[in-house]
């Protein structure tokens, strides 16, 4: 029934928890998963008489992200109080930035299919303190855990430049990769380090006119899957609603919705945009922050080649597929380790395969990055060379890599110890091939007949040789010998 063409319009609000040692305005440790209210002090508890002191590192981290997002960095920025009452907010105001965010008017390039990219505008980047958590697990009252209260939280607001759920996901993933590259956030979704709030509506063309559906904001999404699914589901819901009711965007009809993961639907939270009055005013307990050139340059020194640039460079420079380059550049240390191994003489594609297959599997098991597996770039380059030269098979390469992690030994030593060196000695292999030919007359006939069964029979004989040599024969050489002998 829906034959009307339409466009989806999505803007995103993202909160990123910064990985500073201490909280935004006090000296409490930022630690996840600690006993409730064990990482608190009078300041983050909002006790009478306390005063905030700005965490300079959090500010610098934020400026770094704003720079990476191509924002204009404010020379003068200040703190504001945002007032609202909620039990997880000890002071009943949040210290945030209102009219002078630390960064504004930037953009981010996001990767799309087939190596294409799209530029999404960044409206603003500002820093604020996180709230605590209300817990509703104990009978007929609620409890408040304030460990998270006062944690530095970066808020990034994009322009409504995304036009599909896939683009929204791509931006989220790109941003995660970026903040990890910059070393400013662990960006662990499961720990709530990144939270997303998409604003969605549709522009529908009907009978030559354009209709805009009311904007819906989906609150508090903390996985890429939920983010992508909720946008897709909301897109359909808005289309259905429009076809049914014809409702269009108007004053105050923005709704707030939640995501029901079990039902895979968005649910209405607030019908009308509540007339929130946060009574923002400048925080008198903190002094404004003035950015000078020297400080900005010091922060800029922390910039690095951003993941998307690196990914595109790896495609061009190392002849990798866009997919492989994407996997390698998901983590900065992996990407940098890759280059070290290549520089040590490893053939890029071989190195890439080792890192993205055995390497990532091992890193997952050990819960570390590929670069932290304890393999030197030199040894890994050596292994890649051995595979390239046919000294060991690709599959043996994976086994050797596993042993390298365990023992730290050189790949050749391991290959010899485990008898994984491929036999490329033609003389020795010829003898074995002769034995196999003698033992399998039927297959030999099939090969010689050159019919349909030829290829299969060749493969069978090759398999027999490999079995006999316990996989140590170089299959290419065996294949060559077989062909010579049977033609």
């Amino acid at each position: 029934m829906s034959n009307f063409p339409y466009k989806v319009v999505v803007g995103l609000e993202i909160h990123v928890q910064l990985c500073t040692k201490t909280k935004m305005f006090c000296g409490c440790a930022v630690e996840f998963g600690q006993p409730p209210n064990s990482r608190v002090c009078p300041v983050c508890l909002g006790m009478p008489g306390v005063l905030p002191v700005m965490n300079k590192q959090a500010f610098e981290h934020s400026v770094l992200v704003a720079l990476a997002l191509n924002c204009k960095i404010a020379e003068f920025t200040k703190w504001d109080r945002k007032s609202y009452y909620y039990p997880d907010l000890p002071k009943n105001y949040q210290i945030s930035q209102y009219d002078l965010p630390l960064g504004a008017n930037g953009f981010i390039e996001i990767p799309l299919d087939g190596g294409r990219t799209k530029r999404i505008g960044i409206t603003r980047v500002h820093l604020e303190e996180d709230a605590g958590k209300n817990l509703h697990t104990a009978g007929n009252f609620s409890q408040v855990d304030l460990n998270r209260a006062g944690t530095p939280l970066l808020e990034i607001v994009t322009e409504p430049d995304m036009s599909s759920a896939a683009e929204v996901r791509a931006l989220a993933v790109e941003l995660q990769r970026m903040v990890r590259f910059l070393g400013v956030s662990v960006a662990d979704m499961q720990k709530g380090h990144m939270r997303f709030e998409p604003n969605i509506n549709l522009v529908i063309t009907k009978d030559g006119s354009e209709y805009k559906t009311p904007i819906a904001e989906i609150k508090n999404l903390n996985s890429f899957r939920a983010l992508e699914r909720s946008v897709a589901v909301e897109e359909q819901r808005q289309l259905d609603e429009f076809l049914e009711t014809g409702r269009v965007m108007g004053m105050g009809n923005k709704t707030t919705r939640g995501w029901d993961d079990a039902e895979q639907t968005t649910v209405l939270l607030r019908e009308k945009e509540e007339a929130h009055d946060y009574r923002y005013f400048p925080e008198p307990d903190l002094v404004p922050v003035e950015m000078n050139e020297r400080w900005l340059n010091d922060i800029k020194a922390g910039l690095c080649e951003l993941p998307i640039k690196k990914q595109m460079r790896y495609v061009n420079e190392y002849n990798l597929s866009d997919y492989d380059a994407g996997v390698l550049t998901a983590e900065r240390s992996t990407a940098e380790f890759f280059v070290q191994v290549v520089d040590a003489g490893g053939e890029p594609k071989r190195v890439c395969n080792l890192l993205t297959q055995a390497g990532l599997k091992l890193a997952n098991e050990k819960v570390c990055s590929v670069a932290e597996l304890g393999i030197t770039a030199g040894n890994l380059a050596e292994l890649a060379k051995m595979i390239e030269a046919g000294t060991v098979s690709a599959s043996a390469g994976n086994t050797i890599m596993q042993e390298m992690v365990k023992s730290g030994a050189a790949p050749e030593t391991i290959a010899e110890e485990l008898n994984l060196m491929q036999k490329s000695d033609t003389g020795e292999l010829e003898t074995i091939v002769d034995e196999i030919i003698a033992a399998n007359p039927k297959a030999v006939d099939d090969v010689k007949s050159g019919g349909k069964k030829c290829k299969k029979a060749h493969g069978f004989l090759l398999g027999q040789v490999m079995q006999k040599t316990k996989g140590q024969a170089n299959p290419q050489i065996v294949s060559q010998i077989l062909a010579e002998k049977l033609n």
Partner: protein, 491 residues
């Protein structure tokens, strides 16, 4: 003997104790004996720490006997306004909402007093959350003026000034947001200094108007204020608004105190003084004559924006207060209503029950001023007025060393006289508010009495971080007059 002891100034007392001539414990016992006798009349304290204080005094004596170095306030009994957080005793802000609140930390100034070996006697009464000009807004008790017990001591630091005037301690700390040190100091005939904003750490001072609040000394002499400043002034990393000492060095305020300021140029603001009672005007004029006789040059200046100070102040202060007091919600600490059915009621009922009338009034005013649609007309405008007042001061100080004016248009008024008319009460802050808006230091010193034998205060205002010269100017007058030596009848 005991009265002689209680009438000593802090410096003499400290030197006597440090030299072993006077026992700290003797002084502490004398103070508590006096508190037992007169506190029921004056009502200066919310809490006293007899046991704690006597133990501290004995400890100081023991240190002196052992030949150890002692601090600048060794053995001096000092009272602190109950708006300063202490780990000992409750910190109530004279509010029912914090009646049983025990702070988990000491304010920076409390730490400084303790490390100077002061003996903290108790915590003094005040207008609830420092909002008021008579201490009648205390949610916990009434304090009277030692000069006339039917009158108010002024406010909001009325407990501190009454305790100092009534010899219930030797010196005290107060806080001043719009005159809360200077006005009660003038009503009680003592010295009260509001330092420059940023000179003394606010960490641990329960906030009323954060951009205006400043802690300062209340003493019987100018020298004692200088001594107290030597202990409490300075940068505190815990207070971002406390000023870097590289920008504005802290000095020894006692060192040159007795050196008169040469070629002193004093400005007066005739347009402004006219609003004071005639007896107050006369006393101020006489005080300025004393300076004239000392060779000072007197100039008349205009400060065109001072007329708007009260309006601007009651917007800025209440706006900040509405936000600062939001945390008293019954959720985390302090009074929680027993009648609340859900969390919204925990807020509304706890706050309705815990806060007094004036506090509620100011929260309402401030909330209104910050509300969307009103922000520009009220808060933003008030900030503009504030910066105009600041530039009035900057211009004025280009041509003079200090400005002199009354502290209050009247002397101490009767208890209950203004409680039904909040606006009338607000107007009594007319002379003191500008110093807070501009952030400059100002002192109130005794300069005479009215026909009812009630003290009158002279206010001297100086450029930012000019406390040293300000105190020297005050001392010039004090050295020539005896007003500060007069004692209330009950003493």
């Amino acid at each position: 003997m005991q009265d002689d002891l209680l009438n000593m100034d802090c410096r003499e007392l400290r030197d006597g104790i440090a030299a072993g001539r006077i026992k700290s414990i003797t002084v502490a016992e004398a103070v508590f004996e006096r508190i037992e006798q007169y506190e029921p009349i004056v009502g200066a304290y919310i809490t006293t720490f007899k046991e704690h204080a006597l133990a501290k005094a004995e400890e100081i004596d023991a240190q002196i006997t052992a030949g150890k170095q002692v601090g600048q306030l060794a053995g001096v009994p000092i009272a602190v306004k109950d708006v300063l957080c202490t780990t000992f005793g409750a910190t109530t802000c004279a509010s029912k909402i914090l009646e049983n609140f025990h702070a988990p930390y000491n304010a920076t100034v409390i730490e400084k007093l303790l490390s100077a070996d002061a003996v903290i006697v108790g915590k003094t009464n005040m207008d609830e959350f420092a909002m008021g000009s008579s201490t009648e807004n205390s949610g916990l008790k009434q304090t009277v003026n030692p000069w006339d017990t039917s009158r108010v001591p002024g406010g909001s630091s009325g407990g501190s000034t009454a305790a100092v005037a009534g010899r219930l301690c030797f010196a005290a700390l107060g806080s001043d947001t719009g005159g809360s040190i200077r006005q009660p100091a003038s009503f009680c005939g003592v010295v009260g200094l509001k330092p420059t904003y940023g000179r003394v750490s606010r960490f641990g001072l329960v906030a009323y108007g954060s951009s205006l609040d400043q802690i300062g000394p209340i003493t019987r002499t100018v020298a004692d204020s200088a001594l107290m400043m030597n202990v409490i002034a300075g940068h505190d990393p815990a207070d971002s608004t406390s000023v870097d000492e590289k920008q504005a060095p802290v000095c020894d305020y006692l060192e040159k105190l007795d050196e008169p300021v040469k070629q002193l140029k004093i400005a007066v603001v005739p347009q402004f003084n006219a609003g004071a009672e005639s007896q107050v005007q006369t006393a101020i004029a006489d005080a300025i004559d004393v300076y004239k006789n000392l060779g000072a040059e007197i100039i008349e200046i205009e400060m065109p924006h001072l007329d708007y100070a009260i309006a601007a102040y009651y917007i800025v202060a209440t706006a900040e207060a509405s936000s600062n007091l939001a945390r008293y919600d019954g959720v985390h600490y302090g009074h929680r209503s027993e009648n609340a059915e859900d969390y919204i009621e925990v807020y509304s009922k706890s706050r309705a029950e815990g806060f007094g009338k004036e506090v509620k009034r100011r929260i309402m005013l401030g909330t209104y001023a910050l509300s969307s649609g009103y922000y520009d007309a009220y808060y933003l405008k008030a900030l503009k007025v504030r910066s105009l007042i600041r530039s009035d001061f900057t211009k004025a100080f280009e041509n003079c060393d200090c400005i002199m004016m009354p502290v209050s248009p009247t002397t101490a008024f009767k208890i209950g006289e203004k409680t039904d008319d909040p606006l009338k009460m607000y107007l009594s802050d007319v002379y003191t508010i500008a110093a807070n808006l501009a952030g400059v230091p100002a002192v109130s010193i005794p300069c005479g009495f009215d026909e009812n034998n009630l003290p009158i205060g002279l206010q001297i205002l100086a450029p930012a971080f000019g406390e040293d010269r300000l105190l020297r100017i005050a001392r010039m007058y004090e050295a020539r007059t005896d007003w500060h030596k007069k004692k209330p009848a009950i003493v």
